[in-house]
């Protein structure tokens, strides 16, 4: 999944989608993931980065990553067709 180019992400984890006018807040780990997505990093790279930094197992990462990505898609933050 890619993040729309015009989506603004602040240092504090505030996300603004200028196409819809919606804004969201995410926690620091969410911010890390969304930044990696914006840098067009794939899921494998993100998994490696998160698992090496935080004390989490693969299945927990899979579940949380899936939930997070679904949330981004539902809020139209993801680029269509990606």
């Amino acid at each position: 999944m890619k993040i729309k180019k015009n989506v603004a992400i602040s240092e504090s984890g505030f996300i603004f989608n200028p196409t819809t006018g919606d804004s969201f807040s995410t926690n620091p780990i969410g911010l890390e993931i969304i930044r990696m997505l914006k840098d067009e990093k794939g899921k494998d790279d993100i998994r490696k980065a998160i698992l090496s930094k935080y004390n989490a197992d693969e299945s927990t990462f899979e579940k949380d990553y899936y939930d997070f990505v679904m949330m981004l898609q539902n809020n139209q933050v993801g680029d269509e067709g990606e």
Partner: protein
């Protein structure tokens, strides 16, 4: 030194369902090219703008639209004798027809300029004609039909499914879920705004609006889209944010280009979950949130005044995205003397 011009503005009802007058005045006051002497035109003695002396230099009551064009002409002639008005910006839908009829006379007899849509543009974007307008100008509009009597409700139900939108001729709209509600809203709206009532297909989605200015030659001088973030019980935006939505801006520009729209306008859309846009309404004047456009770098009222004065205006470039407006209410303390003055002599 900037030249000083006198602009008369109506729509001073800065209330919970606000008129565009005060936002238009605030935008004009920020003009880089001219200073303004603002003359307020009011219908009611409790329009808050009458008492906002930092924004409105002098105010005059004008006759209600139902009094006709001759009464309006007479009153404007009197006001012009006192104030030497350069430009008038009428901001109410219900008064526009009279001002449009007077546009030439005001110019030739009093030297007052306006920049209004033509009668044809005004008529074809009317709620009752909007479906045909959409077909003509290539924009999706929910199917709608005029209704003149509650006897038509059973026939209407065969063409529309519930819920459906019941709209007044000039203002207000309600969502009806059954025939009883349609009849109730029909009576309420027809008593207030007259006939016809418009029944419109209900489209589910988020409401996005565009404030725009057309130069009458097919050019969109500006089109700024906004999404309402907080909506009052009257459906009015109490907070909103400017959007980065090229498709929406292009639809607005196409409407202006195709219709050769002249003047300010507001286009109201519903954006569905499938990202399809349906045009719900065109208001033939600036919306009450037009000051957001000025805040985004597109001072549409200033550009309208320049067009009215015959100056050429180039289309604006980019506007600021993610700029918000948030309204607030504010209690002014007013001396009874002022209320007495506007109530008795019609001037303040």
């Amino acid at each position: 030194m900037k030249p000083k011009i006198t602009v008369a503005v109506s729509g001073l009802n800065n209330i919970d369902s606000p008129g565009p007058g005060i936002p238009v005045i605030r935008a004009l006051k920020e003009s880089k090219d001219f200073d303004v002497n603002i003359i307020g035109l009011s219908y009611e003695t409790l329009e808050p703008g009458l008492y906002m002396h930092d924004l409105v230099n002098k105010s005059y009551q004008i006759p209600l639209p139902s009094a006709g064009v001759d009464s309006l002409m007479e009153r404007l002639s009197y006001i012009n004798n006192q104030e030497n008005v350069d430009v008038v910006i009428p901001n109410f839908d219900a008064e526009l027809a009279n001002f449009m009829k007077l546009e030439q006379r005001l110019k030739t007899e009093l030297g007052i300029s306006m920049f209004l849509p033509t009668q044809e543009q005004f008529d074809e974007r009317h709620k009752a004609n909007l479906y045909e307008f959409g077909q003509k100008h290539g924009v999706s509009v929910p199917y709608s039909k005029m209704m003149f009597s509650t006897n038509e409700i059973s026939a209407i139900a065969t063409e529309f499914s519930y819920p459906m939108v019941v709209k007044g001729k000039f203002y207000e709209a309600y969502i009806a879920y059954n025939p009883e509600q349609v009849a109730n809203y029909f009576n309420k709206l027809s008593a207030k705004w007259g006939l016809p009532i418009i029944i419109q297909e209900y489209v589910f989605g988020s409401e996005v609006n565009v404030t725009a200015l057309g130069d009458g030659k097919g050019n969109a001088i500006s089109a700024v889209p906004m999404r309402k973030l907080f909506i009052t019980d009257k459906g009015k935006a109490w907070a909103g944010i400017s959007l980065d939505d090229d498709e929406l801006v292009n639809i607005a520009k196409n409407v202006i280009s195709s219709s050769k729209w002249r003047g300010g306008m507001e286009l109201e859309f519903i954006k569905t979950a499938e990202n399809k846009y349906y045009l719900l309404e065109i208001n033939p004047r600036f919306p009450a949130w037009v000051y957001l456009a000025a805040g985004c770098g597109h001072n549409q009222p200033e550009a309208l005044v320049k067009l009215a004065l015959g100056k050429s205006v180039e289309p604006f470039g980019d506007y600021e995205i993610g700029k918000m407006f948030i309204r607030y209410s504010y209690d002014m303390i007013v001396d009874l003397k002022e209320f007495e003055q506007i109530s008795t002599i019609g001037e303040l």
